[in-house]
């Protein structure tokens, strides 16, 4: 198939396409599934992170 005789290379070739398609489907299905809240904990972490970055 497609000029490749080794089944294990073919599995990798089509496995790449299949895993990319699975990722696409996952992204579409879960697009709005999870919550999108930013907690005070998250914001505090980001402020500290900015400080670390700015230090460097």
């Amino acid at each position: 198939m497609i000029g490749i005789d080794d089944p294990f290379v073919l599995i990798a070739y089509f496995g790449i396409i299949a895993s990319a398609v699975a990722s696409l489907i996952y992204g579409l299905v879960r697009r709005n599934a999870a919550r999108d809240d930013v907690t005070p904990e998250d914001r505090q972490w980001a402020l500290d992170e900015k400080k670390v970055d700015d230090d460097i």
Binding site: V9, I16, D36, W45, E49
Partner: protein
């Protein structure tokens, strides 16, 4: 081989325009929202494309494109398993299983580096210091891989010496990272990532179309299996579209163990424990943002690794069809029907006589498999008649067996020069986004995880900007020195694989245990790190022959052998990850089972939803 070395004024204009565009985007970014943390502070959501592509740009560099693309040119399409793992593990599993728990736990603990994350999770300064030291000591190896990849490409594309290219690369890197370019500016990362993706699409389409199509290109390469050089055949190479021969107990299976354990598993699994990528999960604002980044991340990684691995393999077919003509004397017919022969390569000297080309490696006449297309009767220097044949060979022949040069040589020979310039800029961008995250990690490992934690009388010290900057400069010098001095077979991929493997064996059990188990103890985590790192280093120093031989200790121990298991076939080809990772997991489980679990209060702080 240097394809088209000249640098025209158009090339310079293209480079300047690109740098100006990047600089302008960077300046725009600095005026407002620039890093992931800024998005979070501002309460805004980064677009999934920005999130995914900037993550991918941190992950992918010249190491993947030039180094592993070259390895695919050497070993073939078995490397596609690495692309599969990069998507399945590096994106799907990493984002869906590891991303959210890391983000949540990191924010709860207030961790800003990976060693700090482990240290706070296990309430252990020792763990933080050990992880920081490991990163500080070994990350320069990975940086060297990225630099070597960029420098080899520049030297081939522009016809300059490798040393000059490396010096220029080092200066650009220093100018980028020392004055403060370490902050990941997401807009510029994304812009550069998109250019890389477009360049990869063009490269893939061009390669397939120049070989007559997908099936035709693959078929031609499949039928070139008899042109695999003898040393590779003896290790189990069965053609560029086939897996290496699988088995145990004979040197004819060595290649399978090298490709599968070092190249594919080491890097494919190691990505889960990459400090600079794990920290990225913490910069995300929510699970939703992670979910949305999965599809774009997968497509990006597919293009950025799948393309070079396919093109690297197919470059052998391209050179066999379109490469420059080579000449020589037939040593042995390989397949008379297909006009394939093993040829002693020759060139005309200044006097017009045909003389043998001497291989610098073996100091003997160089031989290569040729697809013969011309045969003429000529005389040698001693006026003896002989049949001179002309024909083309595999990419490996044109780069004199140096896999790291396959992708640069192919781009230089096959593609228009303007594309080479754009590709170079894409590579430079890929290198810079990876290098900036590497040196950010080196700087924070030295400053936050080592200097601050190794305080006097057990007390933490204040953060030191000077220590971070010194560590970055030192890391840069070490990386450049390694790039300058170590030039061996597919060294880019090997350095990358060593670093990824070390991270996997040292960090992965403690990281997974820290995220998902409340029973894993401080002693268990620390033991697993010591066992994983210890076994890996032991294996690299004394067992894995390529690395051990280069370091040199094993020859002293064994009286000249390149592995303490040299008499046991295949063992010297097995990567440390196969032994060290199970040993580290076992250590984590066993020691945790017999030591005191963390306090209920700490577990409530880490996992409030599981401990109401």
């Amino acid at each position: 081989m240097a394809g088209n070395p000249s640098v025209g004024w158009i090339d310079i204009l293209v480079i300047l325009a690109y740098l100006l565009a990047t600089g302008y985007l960077g300046w725009l970014g600095y005026r407002g929202t620039r890093s992931a943390a800024d998005f979070l502070v501002g309460g805004r959501s980064a677009h999934p494309i920005i999130m995914a592509v900037s993550y991918g740009a941190t992950f992918i560099s010249t190491a993947a494109i030039v180094g592993f693309g070259g390895v695919a040119g050497l070993f073939g399409m078995s490397l596609l398993w690495l692309t599969f793992l990069n998507i399945a593990i590096g994106i799907l599993i990493a984002f869906t299983l590891f991303g959210e728990p890391t983000r949540r736990l990191g924010h709860r603990l207030g961790a800003h580096t990976f060693p700090e994350f482990l240290g706070l999770r296990y309430q252990s300064r020792g763990i933080q210091i050990l992880a920081g030291a490991l990163i500080f000591l070994f990350m320069p190896l990975y940086s060297a891989a990225v630099m070597t990849g960029g420098s080899i490409f520049a030297s081939t594309q522009f016809g300059i010496d490798f040393e000059v290219a490396l010096l220029i690369f080092a200066v650009i890197t220093a100018a980028y990272v020392i004055p403060g370019g370490l902050k990941a500016v997401m807009y510029t990362d994304t812009f550069q990532g998109l250019i890389m993706a477009l360049a990869m699409i063009f490269l893939l389409v061009f390669t397939y179309s120049s070989l007559g199509g997908i099936t035709e290109g693959h078929r031609y390469l499949t039928e070139m299996a008899d042109m695999v050089p003898a040393p590779l055949q003896n290790m189990g190479h069965e053609g560029w579209t086939a897996m290496p021969a699988f088995g145990w107990g004979s040197h004819t299976y060595d290649l399978w163990w090298i490709v599968i354990t070092s190249i594919i598993l080491g890097v494919g699994i190691g990505v889960l424990a990459q400090p600079q990528l794990i920290v990225r999960f913490m910069t995300v604002r929510s699970r939703r943002e992670l979910d949305r980044a999965v599809p774009i991340g997968a497509i990006f990684i597919m293009l950025m690794t799948g393309t070079p691995f396919l093109v690297g393999s197919l470059s052998n077919a391209w050179f066999a069809q379109h490469g420059p003509m080579l000449h020589g004397k037939v040593v042995k017919e390989i397949d008379a029907e297909k006009d394939r022969a093993l040829v002693e390569l020759m060139k005309q000297n200044d006097a017009g006589d045909w003389v043998a080309i001497i291989s610098p490696k073996t100091q003997a006449p160089a031989k290569a498999a040729l697809i013969v297309s011309e045969r003429t009767q000529v005389q040698d220097a001693s006026s003896q008649d002989f049949e001179l044949v002309g024909g083309r060979s595999t990419a490996l022949t044109y780069v004199k067996g140096d896999a790291d040069k396959i992708i640069p040589a192919f781009i230089s020979a096959a593609l228009p020069h303007w594309f080479g310039v754009i590709f170079f800029l894409a590579l430079l961008a890929a290198a810079m986004s990876t290098i900036s995250s590497q040196f950010h990690t080196i700087g924070t490992a030295a400053g936050r995880d080592l200097y601050e934690q190794v305080g006097s009388k057990g007390q933490s010290r204040e953060p030191s900007l000077l220590v971070m900057r010194l560590a970055i400069v030192l890391g840069l010098l070490i990386a450049v020195s390694i790039s300058y001095t170590v030039r061996q077979e597919y060294i880019i991929a090997r350095f990358t694989a060593i670093f990824f493997g070390l991270c996997a064996t040292s960090f992965l059990p403690a990281y997974i245990g820290g995220l998902f188990s409340q029973r894993v103890t401080r002693a268990g985590a620390l033991t697993s790190m010591v066992v994983g790192m210890g076994v890996s280093l032991f294996w690299l120093l004394l067992v894995k022959s390529k690395e051990a031989a280069a370091i040199g200790l094993v020859q002293r121990v064994t009286g000249g052998k390149t592995s303490i298991l040299a008499d046991y076939p295949n063992w010297p080809a097995v990567d440390p990850i196969i032994v060290a990772l199970p040993a580290a997991f076992l250590a984590l489980i066993l020691v945790s089972a017999v030591t005191k679990p963390p306090s209920a209060e700490h577990l409530r702080h880490c996992f409030p939803e599981r401990n109401p």
